[in-house]
Amino acid sequence: MAIWEDPFQKLSEDLKTTLRPQREWVAGRGLFLLLGHFLSGAGAGTWLFSIYYGLAAGLMLSLGVVALGGVAHLLFLGRFGRAWRIVRQPHKSWISRGLLSMALFLVCGTAYLLLERIGAVSGALGGVLLLLSLVGMAGILLYKGFVYAVSRAIPFWNTPLLPALYIAYGVRGGAAILLVAAALGVGGVELSSLEFIKLWVVVSSAVLVLIYLAGMSSSGVASRRSVSQLLGLRGSASLAFYLGVMLLGLVVPIGMGLFSHYGTVLPWVLGLVGVSSLIGDFYVKYCVARAGIYLPLSGEFPAR
C-alpha cells in the first residue's frame, strides 16, 4: 500500500486479518502526523544545541521548525478547527501534554528570542523565559514516545524504550539541523564539537534501535510480526528500514562522524551528513508507526 493512500482502501482486508496493522497514523493524512513528530522533535533538539552554543540563528530556526511541526499536527486532525480542545486533558492524555508543551515552548521561546534581540536577556525575566522554554522543549522531546508507549493495544509500541528512542532521535535531529545550517552559511556553529556530540547521540540511538528490535522479536506474536515487517525482506516497511533508518540514518552518520573526528571534512560534507541523518530520523518515525500491529483477537476465541 502506498503511504499516501487512504487507509479505507485496505479496511475490508484488514478487518479479516488476525494481525491487523494500524494505518490511521501512517497512511494518507497520517503522514502529516509523522512529519509533525519529526519536525517538532528535531526543532526541540535544535533549541538545546543553540542554547548550548549561544546561537541566535539556531534559536530562530528551532522555533520555525517546531511551529512547522505544530502546523503538520493540525493538518492531520479530522477537525483542525477544534484543535484548541486538545489541551483539556493534560492530567491523562499525552497528546494534551504534547500540545501544551509545544505552546509553552513557542510562546516562551519567542519571547526569549525577542529579549535577546534587544539585549535584555540577562535579567530575571530572561532566566524565567529560558527555563520555561527548556521545560517546553523537554516536553516536546518526551511526549511523542509516550504517546505510542501507552498503547497496550499495539505491543510493538508498548515499551518504555520508545520514549528513550524518540528523545535520542530528537536530540540528534537538532544537531543535524545545525550541521545543515552551518553548511548553508549560518555562522557560530563549532562544527567539530557539534559533530562529536552528534556522533555519540547517533551511536546511542543505534544501540537503542538494536535493543528495541531484539526485545520485540522475543515478545508476543504481534510484536514479532511488527519486527518482521521491518527486518523481513518482504516486510511492508523493510525498504524504509534498511535504506532510511539503517543506511542513511545510522551507517552514513556514524561512518562520516568517525571520519571527521580523525580527519578533516569540509562543512558542506557535514551538511550532507546532516541531511542524511535527518532522513533517517524521519524514517525511524515512519517505521515505528508502519510496523504497528494490534493484539490479535481471533487467537483469543474463548473456548472451554
Partner: protein
C-alpha cells in the same frame, strides 16, 4: 446499573445477522462496522473447525480509549456505556490506537454505498455520522431509551446474544456469566469489558 452483553459462542452460527442489523439500525457509512463477525479456521483436514467471534465495542469499565482522549470527547456513563461526543472529537484517532478491540472507526469523508450520491436512506442516516471524527457502537442508546434491546441482540436469529444489567444478581446476564463461565476478551489488559463470551 451496568449494562452488559453476553454472547453465546456455542449458539452463534456466524450468519452476520448482527452486522447487518447494526448497519441497518444505525445507518453506518461504508467502512464503518460497529458490529462485525470475525471468522477463524482451526485444525487440519479432516479435523477442521470454523468458529465465529462477533465483535463490537466492549464498553470497557476502564476504557483505554477514554484514558488517552485529549479532548474529553469519550466518556463513560453511569450505566457503563462508553460514548463519543462527535461535537467534541477532533479526529486525532488516538483512541483507535489505544482500543485493543478494534471497535472504533474514523469517518474520513462522506461515502455512499452505491456511488451516485446519497440515496434516501443514507440522507436520513448519515447526519448521525459526521465526517472527520471517530465513532463506535453505543449499545443502541436510542433503543435503550425506548426500553428496546440493541439491534444486534433483537435480530440475532440464533438467540446467541443476551443483554441486561449485571449489577442485578438475578438478571439473565448475571446468571449466564456466573453459571456458564462468561469470559472477557483480553482480560489481562485490565480494561474490564462489558461484553462476555460463553465458550464454544
Amino acid at each position: 446499573m451496568r449494562y452488559v452483553m453476553v454472547i453465546d459462542l456455542k449458539r452463534c452460527i456466524g450468519c452476520y445477522g448482527c452486522q447487518i442489523a447494526c448497519k441497518s439500525e444505525n445507518a453506518t457509512p461504508p467502512g464503518v462496522f460497529w458490529a462485525r463477525v470475525l471468522k477463524q479456521e482451526a485444525g487440519k483436514f479432516p479435523n477442521v473447525r470454523r468458529s465465529s467471534l462477533p465483535l463490537l465495542c466492549m464498553h470497557c469499565q476502564d476504557p483505554a480509549c477514554q484514558q488517552v482522549c485529549p479532548t474529553g470527547a469519550t466518556t463513560k456513563s453511569d450505566n457503563g456505556i462508553v460514548e463519543v461526543d462527535s461535537d467534541e472529537c477532533v479526529g486525532c484517532r488516538y483512541c483507535m490506537m489505544a482500543c485493543p478491540y478494534g471497535a472504533r472507526y474514523f469517518n474520513a469523508k462522506e461515502r455512499s454505498y452505491f456511488g451516485q450520491g446519497l440515496n434516501e436512506y443514507e440522507k436520513v442516516g448519515y447526519p448521525n455520522h459526521p465526517t472527520g471524527v471517530v465513532g463506535k457502537c453505543d449499545f443502541c442508546r436510542h433503543r435503550l431509551e425506548k426500553k428496546l434491546e440493541p439491534a444486534c441482540v433483537a435480530n440475532c436469529m440464533a438467540r446467541a446474544r443476551y443483554f441486561g444489567d449485571v449489577d442485578d444478581p438475578n438478571s439473565e446476564v448475571s446468571h449466564l456469566i456466573r453459571e456458564k463461565r462468561g469470559q472477557q476478551l483480553h482480560p489481562e489488559l485490565g480494561t474490564d469489558p462489558s461484553v462476555y463470551y460463553l465458550p464454544a
